[in-house]
């Protein structure tokens, strides 16, 4: 039986990818950011997941305004890093897990989540930067990845509550998959940032850390936070944090299990325009 063993939460700032790709990780500006992931890389290496179910958002890369899916699951065998206007990141292609992805799609749609199934798409920094942060710079990514894209660009975006419920459905789906698999679920994006208008550069350290506290200790209550709070308190792009609730909803304690172990927690300001938050939760 496939099992979700852990969840990982992390910002996916494009400048982090650029810093990594251009060899700037030891510069004074970037060193503290990457230091926050030293533990994570060792941890990931020990965990050896077979599959990462990676929740992220597309940033006007694979999806233009012609087509805006609220939730899209990638069921293809392979996804190429996208050219976001600077050329594709020099990272390996993403190898999918079509069988598990199709199984999850089947189960979750029967659970009344109206997914869009995607068999061809390129993946942008939202997906590849978290992989780089957790896996470093390997020749090939060490595991299969199922891309799961959430619309957080055009409003209305799905509510935190909807995301949290979806995470629960994903857990049911994974645990009904026959083959023995070690599956992790990652929620990416956030933390506080705003990339537009005279309010650009907003950072709310207190709010972010309270979000991390509550994500660990009271995710159910946190999932009821309205969008308005995210935008007002954590910036217009802080809304990406709803995606973390998908990963959190898939953890064992939401389904009657024991509380997760906090394996790692990290917070740093800034990376480019953004506060970097990062959390690793293990199921016992």
């Amino acid at each position: 039986m496939a099992r979700i063993t852990a969840s990982v939460y992390t910002s996916h700032v494009p400048a982090i990818g650029a810093a990594l790709d251009l060899g700037k990780t030891t510069e004074p500006y970037w060193q503290p950011v990457f230091a926050g992931y030293d533990f994570s890389k060792r941890w990931f290496d020990q965990q050896r997941p077979d599959v990462v179910f990676l929740v992220y958002n597309d940033h006007a890369t694979a999806f233009s305004l012609d087509f805006i899916p609220t939730f899209a699951i990638g069921t293809a065998a392979r996804f190429e890093p996208a050219d976001e206007g600077w050329g594709p990141r020099p990272v390996p292609p993403v190898i999918g897990h079509p069988e598990l992805a199709a199984h999850i799609a089947h189960s979750v749609i029967q659970d009344d989540f109206d997914l869009t199934i995607v068999n061809r798409m390129d993946v942008d920094h939202g997906l590849t930067v978290p992989l780089s942060l957790m896996c470093g710079q390997p020749e090939a990514w060490p595991c299969a990845v199922i891309p799961f894209a959430v619309n957080v660009v055009q409003y209305p975006v799905p509510s935190g509550r909807r995301c949290f419920m979806l995470g629960q459905a994903i857990r049911r789906a994974v645990e009904s998959f026959g083959p023995e698999l070690n599956v992790q679920i990652w929620g990416t994006g956030g933390m506080s940032h705003q990339l537009q208008g005279p309010r650009a550069g907003l950072i709310n350290r207190e709010w972010d850390n309270r979000f991390l506290d509550r994500l660990i200790a009271e995710p159910d209550a946190l999932s009821r936070l309205p969008h308005d709070d995210y935008v007002r308190e954590a910036g217009s792009e802080g809304i990406e944090l709803v995606m973390w609730l998908i990963a959190r909803g898939a953890m064992a304690d939401i389904h009657g299990g024991a509380a997760p172990k906090v394996a790692h927690r990290f917070y740093h300001v800034p990376a480019s325009n953004t506060a970097v938050g990062h959390l690793i939760l293990e199921n016992s």
Partner: protein
């Protein structure tokens, strides 16, 4: 429309909803076209001519030519789409974001290194934070033009 849009009273912030999206459809689709190297080259060779291939409003074209991102956003642009213009110009997200505040690159970068913009006074229109309309432009970059 009797929809729940509580986000209308946040200062210095435009939420990209269906209304903005409709307004900015062609502006944003023009931006998407810059993801292809060929189109970037054609745009750079003659910006006006390239823009004229798109059914954008004159105001949208002018805002793009002036690289006035605040105006682009007001006219329906979304930052992730507009970022393709920045990429074409070789600008980073930090440079683009900073350009909307009236700060110089250094001023904006220093603000971020110092912990970013505070939310105090910037939660609601009518408070007195630095993102409020009556404090624009915030830095030296904008002041030069005045």
């Amino acid at each position: 429309m009797a929809l729940d849009k509580p986000y209308k009273d946040i200062p210095g912030t435009t939420i990209f909803d269906a209304e903005q999206s409709r307004k900015g459809y062609w502006l944003n689709q023009f931006c998407m076209s810059l993801m292809k190297a060929d189109n970037r080259a054609r745009f750079k060779a003659n910006e006006r001519a390239y823009l004229d291939e798109w059914p954008m409003t004159e105001a949208q074209k002018d805002a793009v030519l002036a690289r006035d991102l605040n105006e682009c956003i007001r006219l329906g642009g979304n930052i992730y789409f507009l970022a393709k213009i920045g990429a074409t110009d070789g600008k980073s997200f930090q440079q683009m974001a900073g350009s909307m505040t009236g700060m110089t690159e250094d001023e904006y970068r220093n603000m971020m290194v110092a912990g970013g913009r505070s939310v105090e006074g910037n939660r609601r229109i009518g408070e007195d934070g630095d993102a409020q309309a009556h404090h624009q432009p915030q830095g030296q970059a904008g002041k030069k033009d005045q």
